[in-house]
Amino acid sequence: MGRIGGTGMTDLIFYALSALAIWSGWRVFRVDSMIRATFALMVSFISVGGIAVLMSADYIGVATVFMMAVEMMVMGLFMVMFMMNPAGLNPMQMVHQYKFSIGAGIMGFVGLTTAVLLTNFPDNPLPENRDTLRDLGIELLGGSMLIFETAGVTLLATMVGAVALSSRRGRFGDSDVGAAPPGLHPGGEPAGRKVEKGGGHGGHGGHGGHQMMAEKTKPNSNDDPHEGHGNMPEMEA
């Protein structure tokens, strides 16, 4: 399936793209700057898209680049929005169970690789000159139309769900004032489970309580900024 100037060239491009995909994937979790992390992931996706194009999956490859550029852009914005330190100018490592995670990652890789090496895969490569794009189109709007349309409806439902989840107005009032269900009789205790006073939350705003917001009271909030940093992430190696 040498698409660009013979098999040797294709192999070379494949190895280069693979190396780029893995290296940038690794950088995602090693850089301080969230923006760099996000766009390293994008580079990884673009490389995989390139490999897909090498394998004659033109549409899949190009659409991966298309989708991932947009998705990573949105992700980058969320990074800047929610992170207290998106540029990594104040370097920190926000990790937990670090050794276990490394072990799990390596185990995952080794296990899958072993499985790959020990399995005999059938060898039915893509025939030369097959119009894969046309195949895909016919399949999407032919035999597998139901699947495709289900995916479409799922995406629509996702959009509705995402808007509902992220909007401020909830069923029982504004979400940021601590939504509570109405009482069983007028003015009574909220129905349902009781609120437990727990120091389980914290994070960003909680830290704010540290320095500047200590005096700021937050009426109507179930969250207490003074307790907020009970579990705040500590610096780790």
């Binding site: 995909a21 995989v48 004659s56 999956a57 991966t64 490569p125 893509l126 995402a162 940021d176």
Partner: protein, 101 residues
């Protein structure tokens, strides 16, 4: 470019993603780990399609579905991040030790 090579690359991406998803404290970084795992999956799906299916279009359909899954994961993930942040001002996993209330 052989199927084995492609699958090993996919396994490596999956492993990195697994490491990221398990180790990162921040929600958004955790989602990047999940995306990375799906990245490996996508590569493996396309690899199988190209080398073992004789170009049966259903293989490409699988890859399209993986992409749809990524989009759904991202959208719902961000919506949940926003919802949790509104309620708790939390942007790390430890911030929601409990899901109650």
């Amino acid at each position: 470019m052989t199927l084995t090579a492609i699958l090993i690359v996919a396994a490596a991406l999956f492993g990195i993603g697994l490491f990221g998803a398990l180790s990162q404290k921040s929600f958004v970084m955790l989602m990047m780990g999940l995306e990375m795992m799906l990245n490996g999956t996508l590569l493996a799906a396309v690899g199988f399609w190209a080398f073992t299916l004789e170009g049966a279009p259903k293989g490409q359909l699988l890859a399209v579905l993986v992409m749809a899954v990524m989009a759904v994961e991202l959208a719902i993930g961000f919506a949940l991040v926003v919802a949790v942040y509104r309620k708790r001002q939390a942007d790390v996993i430890e911030g929601i030790g409990t899901m109650k209330q």
